[in-house]
């Protein structure tokens, strides 16, 4: 395989991994618990910036051509963990303001505004993260590995992304197929009823807000380290709706479905338009991507709202451990 092919393949794999992690974060909020977080991409951005600030070193480096906060050089995986922590805390703070008093449709509107405001703030306050120019030269944790070729380093990073995706995927299954997941789905299905059964719906929403924010930040951290750069144009508010489309197309509340959906929508659509016989004008291709993404959302909401791989029905199968006296026996499944 040529170096170019290898790099292309590695890039696709990293994007699939990163988008799966982000889409799972949104799925936890929107698909499972029913929180309309229209500022999701903001948490991906927060993770990307923090990972950059924690790995770039002091801003005077490289002739001080870019300005940003913090500016330390921490070893892998601390920048990524720091990014997740910050994403979760930021989520929690925004959640405290938006999730407690507002009805869910108003929460959605406020989050959309939060996303737009955040872009304006980061663009205007240059000392925060270098304004609209964004940050560049963000180190890749695999770059420092001695004795490895450039290609091998790329594959090391692919492996890091794969491990992260695997861990998050397992955590998603553990959360969703548990009594905790049952309460989250109950919050989505009927807020008045879940409250009437003694569960605090607002607390449940806050928790998935924080968890989803941390996952969004993880995806952003990995993405920024892979690309090596991160700027406001990477996280404009419409990007959030690409993740929504991924969750809707894949299947709200379905772990595997959302992974498939994010691969198709976040990576597949972009790749597919390149092969269409419409030339290679980047503006046209980008517009076409948005058109296809929007059409996919409408098509699925209309024709297959449950998505490609719908949320699995939880069954409680009887176990054979106690062949009891004609009674139904014990349930072996999980909720």
């Amino acid at each position: 395989m040529s170096a170019a092919t290898q790099y292309y393949l590695a890039t696709i794999l990293v994007y699939i991994a990163v988008n799966a992690i982000a889409a799972w974060g949104l799925d936890l909020q929107f698909g499972v618990t029913g929180v309309l977080n229209f500022a999701f991409v903001l948490f991906q951005a927060a993770g990307a910036y923090v990972a950059a600030m924690l790995s770039l070193g002091p801003s005077s480096a490289d002739g001080g051509f870019q300005r940003y906060l913090i500016g330390v050089h921490l070893p892998f995986p601390l920048p990524i963990l720091g990014a997740m922590l910050f994403g979760g805390v930021l989520s929690g703070l925004i959640g405290l303001i938006t999730l407690r008093r507002l009805r869910s449709d108003y929460q959605a509107m406020v989050m959309l505004v939060v996303s737009v405001v955040a872009t304006v703030v980061v663009e205007s306050v240059i000392s925060l993260a270098n304004g609209s120019a964004g940050l560049s030269l963000i180190p890749n944790p695999a770059d420092g590995l001695n004795g490895l070729t450039r290609q091998a380093q790329t594959w090391v990073f692919v492996a890091i992304c794969a491990v992260c995706t695997l861990i998050v995927g397992i955590l998603m299954y553990a959360l969703l197929y548990s009594p905790y997941g049952r309460v989250l789905r109950g919050t989505r299905e009927n807020e008045a009823a879940i409250e009437a059964m003694g569960r605090n719906a607002t607390a449940a929403r806050m928790q998935v807000f924080v968890l989803g924010g941390a996952l969004g930040a993880l995806s952003g951290a990995l993405l920024a380290e892979f690309i090596g750069a991160w700027a406001p144009s990477d996280w404009l508010y419409p990007e959030t709706f690409v993740f929504f489309t991924a969750v809707i197309v894949g299947g709200r509340g379905s772990v595997l479905g959302v992974a498939v959906g994010s691969a198709l929508v976040c990576v597949g659509v972009q790749q597919a338009v390149q092969y269409l016989p419409i030339g290679s004008d980047p503006t046209v291709l980008a517009s076409l991507e948005w058109i296809i993404t929007g059409l996919l959302t409408m098509l699925f909401l209309w024709a297959r709202p449950q998505g490609l791989l719908p949320e699995r029905r939880r069954r409680f199968t009887e176990t054979a451990t106690q062949p009891a006296e004609g009674s139904p026996g014990a349930g072996g499944g999980t909720g």
Binding site: A174, Y180, R185, A193, R199
Partner: protein, 256 residues
Amino acid sequence: MTAQDEPLVVVEGLAKSYGGVRAVDGVSFAIPRGSLTGMIGPNGAGKSTVLGMIAGAIRPDRGSIVLDGREIAGLPSHRVARLGVIRTFQAASVFPRMTVLENLLLGVPPWWGEGIAPALFARPRWRSQEREQVQRARGLLDRLGLSSMADTYAGQLSGGQKRLVEIGRAMMARPKLLLLDEPMAGVSRTLAPAIEALVAELRQDGMTVLLIEHELALVERLCSPVVVLAQGRVLHRGEMAEARANPEVRRAYLVG
């Protein structure tokens, strides 16, 4: 204060206005322990508002609600539910895209297995406890005649079946006080007797129930005592037979 002859709930001077309309205007009554107390009244009398205030879903403007010696007026509904007050809704309120069995499992009062940490780290422990809950839920489904529907999404059931699921979910909680808001509403003629029998059984089990209903015959068969509301005020407290004889009650029903 929790002696057996003390009422389980004492409501005093409860009031709620909506933009100048006094939906509930100084309502006082008691729910004796182990009773099936009925609350009747014409449409718009304020019955559901009173129930909503006891359940914590509606914040009262004034008044007190004392449960077992503890003031609960104004607490949010999840806190009230944790104190053992479980309600049903006027329109049967299930979790539609969850199975009937899961609906019942959410009736189990909040427990440690529902945390994030147990979901991630204590799977074997919560699973064994959940297994017992599933067994109990299946037993209850047998009693409700819904065994064959255990794995059906609750949203696909008929109105009456949803009502049974809702009452079953409430029974899973083993409530101190069960609030039933017109349990016959939206129920077919074939299922209505089953639900009536179930409510009667609950009383025999010793559960304290407040039943809101506008069909007087049903209340007469099941409830003692009854509270009659009209236009946000209590017209009568006592037995149904006395209520029927009360000219004010008659007038309210004729006018309402």
